[in-house]
């Protein structure tokens, strides 16, 4: 039977989430830098809308200029969702988990962290932003890679992957919502859904452009792009792929680690997969994308909540938890895991 501390399980889960979150955020910012090239409108406000940060952002900055939005999401420490905050949170979780981590993982993370916090205003300037985002993405890849190749693959590993794929699914669904956020903030004119550049950039943001090309060599069809990012089981960032991994990891916990209490989480994952299957028959999915994304977000929260109750001790020891259960919010972790 497993003797992995609940606290470790929670920390490894969140560490992975924060890596993935930082990586995705750098993708979104990079997407915008590509998107604005050769255009007149240079609005960054939709990013704030995408993460539903309007209120918090307004407290920090009066206007959603490029500079402010970049600062808010790259280097603003009071924004718990910024890239620097995410990597710091990842590192704080890693510090709590340090006894379980390989020295290589810890070394890599410190190296990455020290580089990230050495970035100055110059690195966030328009000219260098793309390069900076790239460096962040690479730092996150390296982190996930070194974990894959050096972490001892006991029960720690499925919790790492659960965090990773839950966050990735969450972020992919946000990416699919970009169009909606842009329209809601008045940035994108209603050009129907056909905006070749936009959908191309979206594919690139998900590292899915060439894969899409191989499957659909003839055109960039918004309907197909959305379906590709949601349902293609071979695309590592698609919802279907992520859900497959989530289900497999929960199964692994239940079967290989003998953790019977994984059952409710398994049920949640199954329900969500069934929901995806149903959505794949929806002819008007593209038109209903925002509603669909809401459902995805809620379903992912549901899975995280079940994991929290089964393994992280949220429900077992309510008196010991000074802060409310983290799984209630996908955006941030309870302080109890620090």
């Amino acid at each position: 039977m497993s003797s992995l501390l609940s606290r470790y399980a929670e920390s490894v889960f969140w560490m992975a989430r924060y890596f993935e979150r930082a990586e995705s955020l750098s993708r979104v910012i990079e997407t915008q830098t590509s998107f604005q090239r050769g255009r007149q409108d240079n609005s960054w406000g939709w990013i704030v809308a995408l993460y539903a940060d309007e209120k918090a952002f307004a407290k920090a900055f009066s206007e959603a200029t490029a500079e402010n939005v970049i600062r808010y999401y790259m280097a603003y420490i009071d924004n718990p969702g910024s890239i620097q905050s995410s990597i710091r949170s990842a590192r704080e979780n890693a510090r709590a988990l340090r006894p379980m981590l390989s020295t290589d993982m810890w070394y890599q993370l410190n190296d990455f962290y020290n580089r990230l916090f050495a970035f100055g205003p110059n690195d966030f300037s328009e000219v260098r932003l793309s390069r900076t985002c790239d460096a962040i993405k690479r730092g996150c890849y390296a982190q996930i890679g070194v974990s894959e190749s050096t972490l001892y693959h006991d029960e720690t590993w499925p919790f790492f992957k659960l965090g990773l794929y839950l966050e990735r699914a969450d972020q992919t669904s946000r990416l699919l919502d970009v169009r909606f956020a842009q329209q809601a903030t008045g940035m994108a004119r209603d050009e129907g859904h056909y905006d070749f550049t936009f959908w191309t950039i979206l594919l690139r943001a998900a590292s899915a452009y060439h894969a899409y090309r191989r499957v659909f060599p003839h055109d960039i069809d918004p309907r197909e792009v959305a379906r590709f990012l949601i349902f293609d089981p071979r695309l590592p960032r698609s919802l279907a792929f992520c859900l497959g991994e989530i289900q497999a990891m929960i199964e692994f916990l239940r079967r290989n680690c003998g953790l019977k209490n994984a059952a409710p989480a398994a049920e949640q994952a199954e329900k969500m997969i069934a929901g995806l299957e149903a959505a794949s028959h929806d002819e008007r999915l593209l038109e209903n994308l925002h509603t669909f994304n809401d459902w995805v977000q809620l379903s992912l929260i549901g899975i995280a909540e079940e994991l929290g109750q089964a393994f992280f001790g949220y429900a077992q020891t309510p008196e010991a938890a000074p802060t409310p259960p983290a799984a209630k919010q996908t955006q941030s972790q309870t302080m109890a895991a620090r």
Partner: protein, 493 residues
Amino acid sequence: MATITALKNPSTVAPLDNYSPGPRYCELIGSPENRNRHLTALWHRLQQLELQQLRERSADAERELFTLGITFTVYSDRTAIDRILPFDVIPRVITAADWRTIDRGVKQRIKALNLFLWDVYHDRKILKDGLVPSDLVLGNSNYRPEMVGYNPPCGTYIHIGGTDIIRDPRGDFFVLEDNGRTPSGVSYVVESRHLMQRAFPDLMHGFEIESVSEYGTQLGNKLLEVAPPGISDPQIVLLSPGVFNSAYFEHVFLAREIGIPLVEGRDLFVEDDKVFMKTVSGPKPVHVIYRRINDDFLDPEAFKPESVLGVKGLMRAARKGNLTLANAVGTGVADDKAVYAYLPRIIKYYLDEDPILPNVETHICREPDALAYTLSHLDELVVKPVGESGGYGICVGPKATKAEIDICRDQLKANPSNYISQPMIELSVCPTLCADGVEPRHVDLRPFAVTGEDTWLLPGGLTRVALRRGSIVVNSSQGGGTKDTWVLKENGA
């Protein structure tokens, strides 16, 4: 030294060209009367490095410590700043013969201290026989009545001990302090060695040095020896106050080296006088806790009720024999600076032996004669508060200003029994890389002893170096750094 200097290019500065330890014992070249004693080979090798090269490699080494996260963290509201303990790359070397003395001497003291603690918490023979004043022990703030009548497995109270040892100008060793609560610093011993092996393989080449890598295995085995009897596969954990503790890195290091979970108070609970940890598959029994939390905070039920670091009921579990705490609660009564003064008598009483490692002459200011002597010799003596650690509150007479001595006198008069005084010993020095080149700096030595049924010493120990010129305070909180400590094997140099 002329012959050695002549070997290198005369236009460059070799590290030790201007090195002069003065009237003090030097760990590299020996006593003032007999320099060039035993470590000529190492001297020679250091001299072949250029000063600039030594600096560059030293900077590389410190960078590596930083990236490896061998750091302590200073937290404020918004930031977490990682600092490394300053590391000096010139090693401190101990000969095999000197080590034999230290090894025997430390074991002797640990044995006597454990017997003393058993006696204090059982029959109190030594108090009844009047060798140690009763009120000094029973009125001590570190005395724990909760421990009376409790029988720790193997009779061991101090499972992990750190003994602070210094050396006078003749090269004789003296014990300055016995740390029997939660001595720290062993992680630096092992990590410094690994760092030196990577950064200065050429410096080490050809020396036969005792390994320090066995510490985790040895400690793990000792902790198994003291597990509550009758448990077939005892679960050991290390209890840490958590990531905000300045020694957190060391806690991680130890948990990894022993191969045990690093837990915090909130990971444990006590039910039916048994201890459990919260795991993903439910509660798991725990039998031995290597705790890095002070007595006061260990169990809010028994001690400070406001403690959030500890676990309610640990003392109950220990007293029922379901749990072994390492170190045991209440050991502070034995490593107190005032009790220290009696240690030679304690050794004689229980072991009928003379101390192998002598104490520094100590005046216990609670005794009128000693107080009078201390007050009239304040400018020659080092005055220390008995309850403090970390080098705080110390008045070093020969180096103090008149104002500082006046303050010290007032404090001493106000509360004499809070103080001891000792003659100032000119600590030994070690060549150390400083801003202006390689200079002598004062060092001490803290070997670590682990005890279950018997005692094992990690060959080496923490060499702390006072980086400020002239300072004899080596504590890390007061600007101290560390060095790698080499214990040479027989015929190792």
